[in-house]
Chain length 337, copies 2
Amino acid sequence: MKLASLKGGRDGQLVVVDRALTRCVPVPQIAPTMQSALDRWSVTEPLLRHVAGVLESGDHSEARAFDARECAAPLPRAYHWADGSAYVNHIELVRKARGAEMPASFWSDPLIYQGGSDDLLGACDDACFVSEEDGIDLEAEVGVITDDVPMGISPEEVAPHIVLLVLINDWTLRNLVPGELAKGFGFYQSKPATGFSPVAITPDELGGAWRDGKVHLPLASFINDRPLGRPNAGVDMTFDFHRIVAHATRTRRLGAGTIVGSGTVSNVDRSAGSACLAERRTLEVIEYGTQRTPFLSFGDRVRIEMRDAAGTSLFGEINQQVVSFHSHPLPAQDSHG
Amino acid sequence: MKLASLKGGRDGQLVVVDRALTRCVPVPQIAPTMQSALDRWSVTEPLLRHVAGVLESGDHSEARAFDARECAAPLPRAYHWADGSAYVNHIELVRKARGAEMPASFWSDPLIYQGGSDDLLGACDDACFVSEEDGIDLEAEVGVITDDVPMGISPEEVAPHIVLLVLINDWTLRNLVPGELAKGFGFYQSKPATGFSPVAITPDELGGAWRDGKVHLPLASFINDRPLGRPNAGVDMTFDFHRIVAHATRTRRLGAGTIVGSGTVSNVDRSAGSACLAERRTLEVIEYGTQRTPFLSFGDRVRIEMRDAAGTSLFGEINQQVVSFHSHPLPAQDSHG
């Protein structure tokens, strides 16, 4: 089953989307918003799946064309957005570029930071930044959305709590990272509003590509239509989603609609390319002795997509343009939509 | 005006509370929940103030007794909870106890971390922890709740965006802090669910005690009814709320209902006592060469309160018992209330 939130109001309008991402149908009689569906998931899931079945058969009388440009983030605002850093290879490389040591414990103890969740961006929303001097970078990731998760569960107990998956562009202001890391309080100014794929999908949509708490498919990123990389999200994932979510519950419950990210996907095999510019620049330093690729500029466009073995887009495409805050003042959030 | 959320459902039921904290009235015709009131604050505030006026006059026909034990957190779940660390004196002391250096920039560049906001505790809710070995500690703080705040505003522009104030107990697992600080990704496991005062109040309720973005009143904490301290929240606050909120908007908008905390209140004058045990233990090391006060144990009770010059409780009292997760298993969040 595939779900999306069309723009409109602070929380969007929940729609069921067909597998081909061409048609959709609002379901206000089941749940007006994604959050309200997740709040009562055991009740709403079978009802939504029924609608999805009718839509897929081509028989739904209220179906309309689906357009990713009309999508808000699946959860336009969420109560919890925690990003892991599961591809330890990525951290080791990026730290190396900064001349910073990586503690050995990073290979055994999952890293996680809490992201801003009150302002999540739709797949085609402009990504608005104050200054190019901050070092604007993408981070292509996979994420899961949970139902209510109890405190203190083990990795083996996590699977049934993962109810949806999404793609994420965890926009990062690279030049603000070292200062915030040094303070130790986590990323705040360096992690502005995050972008999301048009649709969220249930794990069964991935078939055999969803196993062991990992998505075993390449995640493709493009800058101005030039490929940046297509590392496989199932390869070199040191901590699978079961371990990251269990880590998150060590001292707390997780509320329905919690989004947990994988961190930047990164493969040891360099031929896969990268999912962020920081890693690419690091590899350039290792190979050429100097960084060749700049961070992003206003006007650049970033696309992120995941296709199945048959070439079908699973989540739709994140397709965001980098714009200047000064020429594109952001509207207040209550005018969303 | 004073507002609270009675337990019931995931988001509680909004009520207007009288100044004496003895009576309240639900206002579903204005807004069913605190979040929905904040989402349309320019519309709902005058309507809520009208109800508050009628309630205060004693004439409201639907008024009922107010009981803080029936309160959820003012926002039982929020989209954004960012905690500053405005009393730099506190950080310097606590770091000293760990033998860690504090960078000089901490006096000029605000610290802020993003807290878990999907599970906020009511004033009299049990505070449930896995293990006493984690070093259970309170942190008594003042917090503000904002409406929609634009990106990139200056401290001078913040005041009208602060619409409510609350008291906060930012529960901290002290023995998990050093490991998380070393990772640099911020506090996650070391900052479990946070407790809140029964009521949130508009700034005008503080009269002249709310000025310069600070609350100029003592914040009293008690452990098992023994005073821990009553430092003045308006004294030694290196970064006032205007500066903390402006810092938070450097690269992002803040959504309506964003909670921004002051960090543990701390005065240089030692006779005021402390607002957390970590600081008290640090002072004991300085004075006696050894820590004398243990962290909290299961069964301990923590109270936090702020009274005005006339001795009237402004926010009601945070009054939480520390309990063991193993003997008090937490219910799923969808059974809230």
